[in-house]
Each structure stands twice: as C-alpha cells, then as structure tokens.
C-alpha cells in the first residue's frame, strides 16, 4: 500500500509541476473601440464659435471666414477687411475643456498661412496679440479667444488664407 501511495505522490508531483507552469497558457481576443466623431464644438476639447465670423462647417470643423462666402454673411454686410488696416475681433471663438477625467490642460493656438494673424485671450489691450497663444483651461472652463488681422501691404482683392492649429497638453501652461 505504501508503494501505491508513493507512486501516486510522484504522479501528483509531476501534475503539479506541469500545472503551475500552464495556468496561463494563452489568451487571444479582440476588443472593441468605439469613438464618436463629432463637430468641433461638441468634442472633448471643443472649439466654439462666439461670433458670426466663426462657424462650424459641414465636416464639423471650426472655420473663421471674413468674406461673403461665410454662411452668416448677408447682402449689405461688410465683405472683408480693407488693406493697410489692423482689425481686432474680441471673442471670436472659445476653447473649452470637456475632458472626462477633469484635468487642467494647456492649449497653444497658432496660425500658419498668409500674412499675420495673432491671438489674444479675453478683452483686447494694446500689444496683447501673439502668434502662439498659450491658454490654461480648467475643467469645464471656456476661454474666449480674439484675433487681430494685420492687412498692411495687401491690396484690394487679396485674400488671407491659412490654417489654425490647436495643440493641448496636460497641466497648466508654463509648468
């Protein structure tokens, strides 16, 4: 009888060694990722038009348009900016922080294109415009951004065309 138990022990020992190395042999599965593609003014870090010069186009993207092609333009309205002028528009659009995890972000607004376009936060004061505007946005906060258009050197019929870029990072600006 002792012999039988000894053999069983041996077998049991072998099984346990095999078993402990095979607990987690292999796993494979696909996992679903669902993302809603939504307009700029509804996303996690939204861009919200605050003046008729800014609007959300059919692709859901914020557009700044100071011409008769703007959907908000009507007959009799101004059709653009004049040469050799500096136009200041306060609160053209707002950038907001609607991330779900309630964190502060630093957003940089910049412009790449014709002529000079500069930005400022809130109300305009002399010399406030910068071509790379850093904005600290607290959770749930909307920060209004104004733009300054310098048309000096342009002649009638010229157009200013360019691209706005928005880049945000976790944390307050300047950290």
């Amino acid at each position: 009888m002792n012999k039988v138990i000894a053999i069983l022990m041996l077998v049991a020992g072998i099984i346990v060694v095999t078993a402990s190395s095979a607990d987690f042999a292999y796993f494979e599965a696909d996992r679903e990722v669902k993302i809603a593609i939504v307009p700029d003014d509804l996303e996690l870090i939204d861009l919200v038009p605050m003046q008729p010069y800014a609007y959300i186009n059919d692709n859901g993207m914020l557009v700044l348009d100071l011409s008769e092609y703007n959907g908000n333009w009507q007959e009799g309205y101004g059709m653009g900016v004049s040469p050799d002028s500096i136009y200041v528009f306060e609160r053209v659009f707002g950038v907001s922080n609607h991330l779900w995890e309630n964190v502060t972000i630093c957003m940089q607004v910049s412009y790449d294109g014709d002529e000079e376009l500069t930005f400022f936060m809130g109300d305009y004061t002399e010399g406030v415009g910068t071509d790379e505007l850093d904005i600290t946005i607290q959770p749930g906060e909307v920060v209004p951004v104004g733009i300054i258009i310098d048309s000096s050197g342009l002649v009638d019929g010229d157009a200013i065309d360019g691209q706005l870029s928005f880049y945000a990072e976790l944390g307050s600006c300047g950290e």
């Binding site: 069983l8 099984i15 402990s20 796993f27 494979e28 996992r31 993302i35 809603a36 996690l44 692709n59």
Partner: protein, 174 residues
C-alpha cells in the same frame, strides 16, 4: 472555436490536498485557445479578465474590456461627446495589462496588442512622441503596464466609428 480543459482526476486531487495542499489554492486550470472574434468575446472574456484592467473614464468592463469615447459610454459625464475630425488625440493609460500571479499563475507574461486601423495606434507607459501599430511587452509578476492610445481622426466624417484592437498573451518571456 476550440477549448482545451485540462482535467485532473479526483483521486489525484485528494492526494495533492494531503501532501501539497498549498498548490490547490489556485483555481483549477483552464487553458483557452480561442479564435478572435468580437461576437464571442463574452465567452472568451475569462482569460482576458485575468489580465485586462480598464482605467476609467475612457475604458470600462462590460463583461470584458471596452474602450468607448461617445455618449453611449456609461461613464459619459454629460459633456465632451467625442473627438472631432482632423484631430490627433493622445491618451496615456487608457487601460492596463496586469499580471496578478495568484490569477495567472505565471511569473511573467508576454503580451502583444495590435491595431489594424490607421486611426488607432498604441504605446506603453508615458507618451514620448512615438506610437506603434503593434506593441509587445512583458509583465512581471504582480505588476502592471499602462497602455496608451493615439486616435487620429484625419479624413473621418461625422458619426460613430467602431474599430478593434487584438490582445494576445501567453505565460513566459517575449
């Protein structure tokens, strides 16, 4: 779908209880070799739940790991309905892969995560400006690795998109 269940005869279990009781604190062994398919994920979630650890708010467990950035997520806070077109969003720590030895029984596991979609790329730990279609990493015993994701919505139209990532793991070093 193929399922292999390792079976230990009851006689041997009794003997192991007597002589080597500590080994039996572990659950009995179930080894999965499963076809990857979203439809049968409910069934093959057991192996995944050993290692997949959702990190709120952009992923959660609904039987198994789900990543959801839309109003349909149970964690949707009432604002921020998704991502806009022509944007790149980088999220660190969307979910984690952990190796809890009492559950996996493996001192080290090798994990591969793959994205076949151009809209989704992956990285581990902190974001350092690089992302990949496929990441492979080892997870030491009782530790976890953070998985981050890059979403590139360039050229996409408004509406919900559904994509998948593939997760594979086995006991051992990569």
């Amino acid at each position: 779908m193929m399922k292999i269940i390792r079976f230990i005869p009851p006689v041997l279990v009794v003997i192991m209880l007597i002589f080597i009781g500590s080994y039996l604190e572990r659950p009995l062994l179930v080894v999965y070799a499963v076809e990857d398919s979203v439809e049968n994920s409910e069934e093959n979630s057991v192996g995944g739940n050993l290692i997949e650890k959702p990190v709120n708010p952009y992923s959660y467990r609904d039987g198994f790991l789900k990543i959801d950035i839309s109003k349909d997520s149970p964690l949707y806070p009432g604002y921020g309905e998704g991502l806009s077109p022509d944007s790149i969003y980088v999220f660190e720590d969307i979910f984690e892969i952990e190796n809890n030895v009492s559950e996996t029984g493996a001192d080290i596991i090798c994990v591969t995560i793959t994205s076949d979609s151009p809209e989704i790329a992956l990285f581990i730990n902190s974001f350092e400006g690089i992302w990949f279609d496929e990441i492979e990493f080892t997870v030491e015993s009782n530790s976890s690795v953070k998985v981050g994701m890059v979403f590139n919505t360039g050229g996409l139209e408004l509406g919900d998109i559904y994509r998948v990532i593939g997760i594979k793991a086995y006991g051992g070093v990569c």
